[in-house]
């Protein structure tokens, strides 16, 4: 039993990160109709920036904040330089464009930071907490806390702010939104910025758990996308729930099935989800946006 709990504890830690990356996919997809291949790369940029700033001696809080802003800026640049000028291209071209962005960002990271993984310590030192025989590291608690905070912040943003509501309107019907004087191009900019910022948050809380390295964007992007698809690609909260369930499924899969095929578990789930239930596991729950 405690073994099972250990798997779950490990799984939710990873899953929360997947979920945060997934949130970005959902926001961008709903507002612009684009699947952004560079989503995991924002996480990577923020993580590496944070490491550099910490190494340069900046205190934790400003370093992490600046790093998140750096990630968000990458989102801004993606939208303004690539997505916006290509607004009239077919969706196919837009996906491939984001692939190009992802490749360029990864190369850039390699140029700036080199190949070696780097890391900084957990936010709070101390031994892991024991919950019914399962060990949960303190940083995992930080991850979960931050994830919860992000969920609340997103809820507030989409329910209580004008911009959030405008973005929702854009998500439901772009043409109708335009008629209500909502500028889709502007919404797209906000969407990319937000998605990148959320991924950036995931990046800076992730570093103490594993480490930061230049080619972490693709694996996290893929897992994040899987999380978003499990959630039905319609709701940020669906993506978070999808991420948690994916993380737990992976950890339990490693524990009870085969660790060699663990990665296969995620991608098989992705393939099955897309083919059998493109509307997502949680669509029944109708968790649209809030």
């Amino acid at each position: 039993m405690s073994e099972f709990l250990q798997f779950v504890a490990s799984g939710i830690g990873q899953g929360a990160i997947y979920g945060l990356v997934g949130v970005g996919f959902v926001i961008i997809y709903n507002v612009t109709g684009i699947i952004n291949f560079a989503q995991g790369h924002y996480l990577m940029l923020s993580a590496l920036t944070a490491v550099s700033l910490r190494e340069a001696g900046l205190p934790a809080v400003p370093a992490l904040l600046v790093a998140i802003v750096a990630g968000a800026l990458a989102g801004v640049v993606t939208d303004r330089l690539v997505i916006n000028p290509a607004r009239r291209h077919s969706p196919l071209m837009l996906i491939i464009l984001t692939v190009g962005v992802a490749i360029a960002l990864e190369g850039l990271a390699l140029l700036i930071w080199g190949v070696n993984p780097r890391r900084y310590g957990p936010f709070t030192a101390g031994p892991p907490l024991e919950v019914a025989g399962a060990a949960i590291s303190r940083q995992t608690l930080w991850v979960l806390g931050v994830t919860l905070a992000m969920a609340l912040a997103l809820w507030w943003f989409f329910q209580r702010t004008l911009v959030g509501k405008a973005m929702q309107a854009c998500a439901m019907n772009r043409d109708a939104a335009r008629l209500q004087a909502i500028n889709p191009a502007q919404m797209s900019l906000y969407a990319f910025t937000m998605a990148a910022a959320v991924a950036g948050v995931a990046g800076v809380v992730l570093v103490p758990i594993t480490s930061a390295y230049y080619d972490m964007g693709v694996p996290f992007g893929l897992k994040g996308f899987t999380a978003a698809v499990i959630g039905g690609l319609v709701s940020p909260f669906g993506a978070l729930a999808g991420g948690l369930s994916l993380g737990v499924a992976e950890a339990v899969g490693v524990g009870y099935v085969s660790s060699a095929m663990a990665e296969g578990v995620a991608f098989t789930v992705l393939a099955l989800m897309l083919v059998l239930r493109p509307e997502g596991l949680l669509a029944r729950v109708r968790m649209r946006w809030a």
């Binding site: 196919l92 071209m93 692939v99 490749i103 190369g107 693709v218 296969g264 393939a271 083919v275 493109p278």
Partner: protein
């Protein structure tokens, strides 16, 4: 009208000659070798399969390298372990790839747009994981080797030059086949499906079947290239068939232009030149530069080409040819034929 059949044939002969001429060019250029030509041709053949899928049926695949892998592994296992004839192994691989693609297409083509892309992505990743995990068959991460050189009758492809010339021939066959397809009933049906599914169905085209068949055809191109790759390198490992190779095929196809049969060769040539060129040039300016400059250049090239030449280099080139034509003829008003020249240099 583009070119008529004889014009096209003449053009083809010219292109083949050009391919042969590339050999001394590669020898003369300090940063190219004949091995680059081999890789260029291999990637062009595989990417042409993707070009067909994307350009002529409007479908995208992010898992194309998996089919490349099916061919490579089929050849590796059948020729090295069971000592089958290379041609038989290649055909088996192609059939397997086609069946796999058809099965995949059956389930996947109910999806549209992004979801389709992502489903093929997932398929490619699952293939990669399976090739790594199925040790007893594939040799797992360590790969499998001992593949003999391709031999057919007295022809033995054991040098870069012979391999390249053979591949260039295969590429020409691939181009002719693709062009044959486009100028025919099933080919026109595919283009129609790519343009409007509902209208295609309204003239009696079974849209799902058409997509499945072009997907299978694209897989065959990739698989044949994969088989020849296995013969060339004599060793295969999963890393050659993962996500990055799939993306590379995507880059080659889109940069080259997905609505022209010349797109894949053009794109492949550009990628080789870009790779080797930056490798050669950048270190001259930046000490200690590694492949990372090249990766940035690769990404930026993709973005820039798609932003400014959405129809790829082939489309851009066709436009240049047309403009040059107009200029030579003394600024006539564009005739329908000239408009067409732009539409198809097929």
């Amino acid at each position: 009208m583009g070119l008529n059949r004889w014009g096209f044939l003449a053009f083809l002969v010219g292109i083949f000659g050009l391919g042969v001429l590339l050999i001394p060019v590669a020898d003369a250029l300090p940063f190219l070798t004949r091995a680059n030509l081999v890789v260029f041709a291999l990637h062009a053949i595989a990417a042409m399969g993707l070009t067909l899928v994307m350009g002529f049926a409007g479908q995208v695949s992010l898992g194309h390298a998996a089919f490349y892998g099916v061919g490579a592994y089929a050849t590796a296992l059948l020729t090295a372990k069971l000592e089958w004839h290379p041609l038989l192994a290649m055909a088996t691989g192609a059939v397997m790839a086609a069946i796999l693609a058809a099965l995949l297409g059956r389930v996947v083509f109910r999806l549209r747009g992004h979801f389709l892309a992502m489903a093929t992505l997932a398929f490619g990743l699952v293939f990669y994981v399976v090739m790594r995990g199925w040790d007893s068959l594939t040799g797992g991460n360590q790969g499998t080797g001992g593949i003999p050189a391709f031999a057919l009758g007295g022809l033995r492809l054991d040098s870069d030059t012979s391999m390249y010339l053979f591949l260039w021939g295969v590429l020409m066959v691939g181009i002719v086949a693709a062009r044959n397809l486009i100028k025919s009933r099933p080919g026109r049906a595919l283009v129609a499906v790519g343009a409007s599914e509902v209208a295609a169905a309204s003239v009696g085209i079974d849209v799902a079947r058409a997509k499945m068949s072009v997907f299978a055809l694209g897989a065959i191109y990739a698989s044949v290239a994969g088989s020849l790759y296995a013969h060339y390198v004599t060793y295969v490992s999963p890393d050659s068939f993962g996500l990055l190779p799939s993306l590379r095929f995507l880059v080659i196809s889109t940069v080259g232009g997905i609505d022209s049969v010349w797109g894949a060769p053009l794109g492949s040539a550009v990628v080789v030149l870009l790779t080797e060129g930056t490798r050669e040039v950048v270190p001259k300016f930046v000490s200690g530069a590694t492949g990372s400059y090249e990766i940035v250049a690769y990404g930026l090239a993709l973005v820039l080409v798609l932003l400014f030449l959405p129809r790829g280099l082939a489309g851009g080139l066709a436009l240049v040819v047309q403009r040059a034509n107009e200029w030579l003829r003394g600024r006539e008003r564009p005739t329908p034929a000239a408009v067409l020249e732009e539409v198809e240099l097929r």
